[in-house]
Symmetry: C3
Subunit: 349 residues, 3 copies
């Protein structure tokens, strides 16, 4: 996707987005770039002071920096409090999201009872069931399936081949990436005489506004009540959300994480990739979970939690790992040694 | 999906489903509900005695309980041996699965050689290849792809956007959720002069009756012989089953689990979420694997097996985890101390 | 997929594929088979000397073996240096991939600006956007989506329901399995006043020649520059590749692995299933990562690396795992014991 040809001066940028301009306000840029690959017509950013030394060699035309880095460069610069977020906004100037192309593609299969805003875009080969509602300016990508009674808010964007089961609700400005499945049955099975009986999954999924859902992520419908993703939650790819989970507003979860059923996660949490959260637990607000960490019980205090087994060269791992199976015994032996030394008369007897 | 408007008396329920009725048999209910959110027109259940105290506050009209809880409430109740399974059956009364709507949607692309039962439902934009067979009362959801020579039994249901490669067989009453892929090539590659040569994957996938397959789960076709999922197996979302795996009847596997190629898993196993099973191993019947557990070798005894690294506040984890890399050495040092104390004359020399 | 009816003599096979023939050159075979299930009309292989004893009982008509196994059987045999790769090539003789059926299915939705080789096959219900290019002999399976400005090389094969976002490039002879998503937005979000701001993902994905991508695998587009998968890389199912990752040529990665953003992986690496690679690290060439291993920092030496917590019967695990949380303390106690024993006069005081 080539950047738009439009050029902006730094002056124009700070007029639109705020921040303090240091250096020539007429400096013109036409695209955003990474620090290392920037060219004189691009604007870059420095969000992490660790990388400050790279500023020296950068060929960028301008840079966005935080207060602390104000004097770290002679490049024309915008000084602001959140350089990375500022950079995101500048990037939107150069790379505006495509507008909806109003109308239904003739190959879309839309039930006559569906209510679709006139300026929404319904792509080729979309299937929309009975009583589907789609709001203003939303884009439903090619091949998406919207089951009966689903609702999509305003200015939402579903990329290609998304599946939304019946009766789910998607808020305003939600983005859903390809292959995501919203509202499949939760894993509700009951044992009876050594056979599994399926428990009907009759709840729905409610997704708040400004949520983003990654490619091939799955969010199960509730068993009885709804599964809920609150506003502003960001879900990366290949995440699995079990039935009746609730994820608090503005929580971000990295890829490949699984969250088992009925768990409640607080607001403003950050959950690392490939982590796993057990079912029926509660995690409070402002909790950070490290990548690869299994969370097996509730967390009631904010802070960072971790359980990662550090990797080693294989031969070293072999030598160490074998002891894991004797750790209880090793602790007993140390306790025994301590007793003997505390009572040395018995130790040599 | 709103519940059906039909109301049942407890009398009618036990006449259909068995169990013992305690309290007013004319008590009428019109939906199922969770213990906490039940209303007087709903029937709920208590499967776990840990939650018995919640019965007191419940506003439910009736409750399904096990023998041990018979006197734990004054609510009208059904006493039975498997309350959760009984609840599942009651829920089906109120929430019957939609019947197939017989016929092919005009946008479906069905090869003339396909043999489709007249009462099967072929949704919009389905693609069915040569010699596909679809049995009585089955529903093929919108956008599904059925490759050449696939067979689907009776009363099966494929939700939207399922992909079944050529030559796979799906049994009766199987449910497959959206985005699942059945029969993709297994990961068969052979090294030759530092290049990978693809090994043709010429087996198929055979899925027994009453299997359920979750959203975005993948089941690879066999390398030479078939991959086999036996009857009654329940697979949650985002599970990966490698080529030539066999999963024994009535085994249930939770989400995000991966099973590497050629592994045989027994009957009536329960495998927790996000676990990983190595290739070319054998797990016997009635094995339970805890969530997040890596199974690296065969298991020949029933029972529960676990390997979960318990999470901690990050600072504590740091202090403890660093020792994992010295565990072999720590064990050696303890052994040395034991020797010295057993032979104290040498210890101070 | 039944094997082709064509029969080959061993003579014909070695004429085409090389290797040394031992035994009757007129031995005829018509299919490939596994060692255990082979029949007299099939050719099998022995790649791992551990299984040599199974040769004795095999009913195969012929076998492919390495030099060391030349005399391990009396069966007619082909002796070669890479028996498994040789077997792969023999299997292709019996199971040739289906040729493209040139032309566009009438239900495909192809933008008039797309440039499609006349001998490419565009399946039913494919959607191809503006300026899409598809090379000679490529097959685009049913229901695939190719966004604007995507390019697919020659003799590539996308199975059903693959999604490729705009502006991505796929090389020659690439195979992509069903449900894979190439080019979805990377997980780029910037925090500002406790809200997440989306960072436009304006890079693409570049996939080299001879790459294979498994079912439901996701490869994110770059944030600014491209995500790159070099030639000959083999990716299994349900792998997640973050934005701006680069995977070196001929690296193979098993299923369910996640690779976080901006990480560079070398050439000829082998990465086990369900492993996780942190973001912003560099792994050198010829590294092997064991299955289930979390790689949290860069690796600059070839070799095998591991971090697997070995499973145990649950009760044993409980006893041992509790000590993990006291490991730092245990190490301190051992150090204290060592001090006391080194200085025994103080130990009993």
């Amino acid at each position: 996707m080539a950047g738009e040809p439009r050029t902006y001066s730094l002056q124009e940028i700070v007029e639109r987005l705020g921040g303090e301009l240091v250096g020539n306000p007429q400096t013109k840029v036409r695209r955003v770039a990474a620090l290392d690959s920037a060219t004189p017509d691009s604007i870059t950013f420095l969000a992490n002071e660790r990388y400050a030394s790279r500023l020296t060699g950068s060929r960028a035309g301008a840079v966005i920096v935080g207060e602390a880095m104000r004097e770290a460069t002679r490049l024309p610069r915008v000084v602001c409090s959140h350089p990375y977020a500022y950079f995101a906004r500048v990037s939107v100037l150069f790379n505006p999201p495509a507008d909806a192309r109003p109308g239904r593609h003739p190959t879309a299969v839309v039930d006559p009872s569906a209510v679709i805003a006139p300026d929404a875009e319904i792509g080729p080969l979309v299937v929309a069931g009975r009583n589907v509602q789609i709001g203003r300016g939303s884009v439903i990508g090619a091949g998406c399936f919207l089951g009966d009674d689903t609702r999509v808010g305003d200015h939402a964007r579903l990329f290609a081949n998304v599946t939304v089961y019946h009766g789910c609700a998607i808020g305003d400005r939600v983005i859903v990436h390809a292959g995501a499945v919203i509202g499949a049955d939760g894993f509700g099975i009951a044992l009876e005489n050594e056979r599994w009986v399926k428990v009907p999954q009759i709840g729905g999924v409610v997704i708040g506004s400004d949520v983003e859902i990654g490619a091939n992520t799955t969010i199960d419908r509730g068993a009885i009540d709804d599964t809920v993703i609150e506003e502003g939650v960001k879900l990366d790819n290949q995440i699995q959300i079990g039935h009746n989970v609730r994820i608090g507003a503005h929580t971000a979860i990295a890829a490949c994480t699984g969250i088992a059923g009925s768990t409640k996660i607080g607001r403003h949490c950050r959950i690392g990739g490939a982590s796993g959260i057990a079912g029926h637990i509660v995690i409070t607000d402002n909790v950070e979970i490290s990548a690869y960490t299994a969370v097996t019980k509730s967390i009631d205090r904010p802070g960072r939690y971790t359980a990662v087994y550090a990797f080693e060269p294989h031969a070293q791992w072999l030598r160490n790992a074998v002891q894991l199976r004797h750790l209880g015994e090793l602790a007993d032996r140390v306790r025994e040694l301590e007793k003997k030394l505390a009572n040395p008369k018995r130790s040599g007897s």
